[in-house]
């Protein structure tokens, strides 16, 4: 998987957060803009771009961008 592209795809989901704030180690739940809607958008993006369907538990257990990438990589 192209990691830079994943980070870009993820950062694109945010309306008010600067892309530079989103890195592999970013704890996205700590971001001001984070909401349950963004969680759903993340699941949706991963489904559309990577054809991987996260379970609710997998989404809840991920805390950093790296965590998300790991889940996607394990699934593929």
């Amino acid at each position: 998987m192209d990691i830079k592209e994943f980070i870009r795809n993820f950062a694109d989901l945010f309306d008010d957060t600067d892309a530079s704030l989103i890195t592999l180690d970013t704890k996205f739940r700590d971001l001001d803009e984070w909401s349950s809607l963004l969680a759903l958008s993340t699941m949706s993006m991963i489904d559309e771009e990577y054809d991987v369907q996260l379970s609710a538990d997998q989404m809840r257990n991920a805390n950093t961008v790296q965590d998300l990438i790991d889940v996607v990589n394990t699934a593929e």
């Binding site: 349950s36 809607l37 969680a39 759903l40 699941m43 949706s44 489904d47 369907q53 996260l54 379970s55 609710a56 989404m59 809840r60």
Partner: protein
């Protein structure tokens, strides 16, 4: 895989009844502010729905829809051999609401009555039940009453559920016909996710105590008690995105149904964003996929017949049409159906 092919049964008429009173999403008290209300409208596509007043419940709307449909079809009461009531909004846990309605409609004692308490997968599951009962020719005419009054089982202070649901009751009339094209199904269950949509203290598993009736603030904008339905939004979202398109696709592939050769895709409507994702995955066009949730909200098992009555009634009254339907929800339960109709009776929406 639960692939079913049920011959000899066809839909001949559909009617729907809704409350007159409207519930306008942007005006609801459960939201923290107007911005929150706007976000919900944008995300779900739901602008308003109908709200049953005190004393009116799902069976009342189904009863009215059935009464008017029987009259329009010119059916003698004595000829109605089965009535199934498909809803989680039953008058009582005991006795069956179907039987209560048989009494109200004064149908013969020989009428076969059962409840099938399914939620959002209900219309499709209901067709598999009534279809199976009629297919052998032992019953020539039947009614399937489908709907829900979520307003009676959800908390008005729950911003995740109250704004998006609406009340409705519908009636579908079916006949035995050896010439009818078979109804084709794929029905699936996932009980391991029973907690995704559940009202804990609503049956015998958890007897209702005073504690269960206390309204508890679970989170900002979510105040409800243990008898109210609650939903794990993320769990349902994941399920809907992954399992539902697969269920529908499997049905279509198994029976050789092609999206471009099908007139309509009628999906259960809880959230337009999700439905659009399903539609695109299945390669149906916007023109093939009517919605009515913006005006009536998520009426649980009622969304499919409500769409037939309020969005494509004129089309269904004239000529031959094919459709793929899919309902999915509490259980978790999901079903996909393919069926064809020919100049069916569709009553104008009843508002009472």
């Amino acid at each position: 895989m639960a692939f079913l092919s049920i011959p000899n049964v066809k839909i001949v008429g559909v009617a729907a009844a809704v409350p007159k009173e409207k519930k306008i999403v942007s005006e609801l008290e459960c939201f923290a502010d107007q911005a929150e209300a706007e976000r919900t409208i944008a995300q779900t596509g739901i602008v308003e729905s109908r709200l049953a007043p005190e004393g009116m419940v799902c069976s009342d709307y189904c009863y009215e829809a059935a009464k008017q449909l029987i009259e329009k079809l010119g059916w003698e009461k004595e000829s109605i051999e089965a009535l199934i009531y498909l809803s989680v909004s039953r008058d009582y846990i005991e006795p069956n609401t179907a039987t209560v309605i048989q009494g109200r409609l004064d149908l013969p004692k020989s009428c076969y009555t059962i409840d099938v308490p399914m939620a959002c997968s209900g219309y499709c599951i209901g067709l598999s039940v009534i279809g199976s009962l009629m297919s052998l020719g032992c019953m020539k005419r039947a009614l399937m009453l489908v709907g829900d009054t979520p307003s009676k089982i959800m908390s008005p202070l729950d911003k995740t559920l109250w704004p998006i649901h609406g009340d409705a009751g519908t009636a579908t009339a079916l006949e035995y016909d050896p010439e009818a094209k078979p109804m084709l199904f794929n029905v699936m269950s996932d009980g391991k996710q029973k907690d995704a949509i559940i009202a804990y203290a609503s049956g015998v598993r958890k007897q209702v105590t005073e504690e269960d009736l206390k309204m508890v603030k679970e989170d900002e904008g979510i105040i409800r008690n243990n008898t109210h339905v609650k939903m794990d939004g993320m769990g349902v979202f994941s399920f809907t995105m992954s399992q539902v398109p697969k269920c529908i696709k499997a049905m279509m592939e198994n029976f050789g149904i092609e999206a471009e050769k099908t007139d309509y895709l009628l999906l259960h409507q809880a959230n337009k964003y999700i439905d659009e994702k399903i539609r695109k995955k299945l390669k149906f066009t916007e023109e093939q996929t009517p919605y009515c949730l913006e005006e009536f909200g998520n009426t649980s098992s009622g969304t499919i017949p409500m769409t037939m009555v309020t969005r494509i009634a004129n089309q269904l009254r004239k000529g031959h049409h094919s459709m793929v339907m899919s309902g999915f929800g509490a259980g978790l339960s999901m079903a996909a159906v393919y069926l064809e109709t020919d100049s069916i009776e569709v009553l104008p929406l009843i508002e009472i």
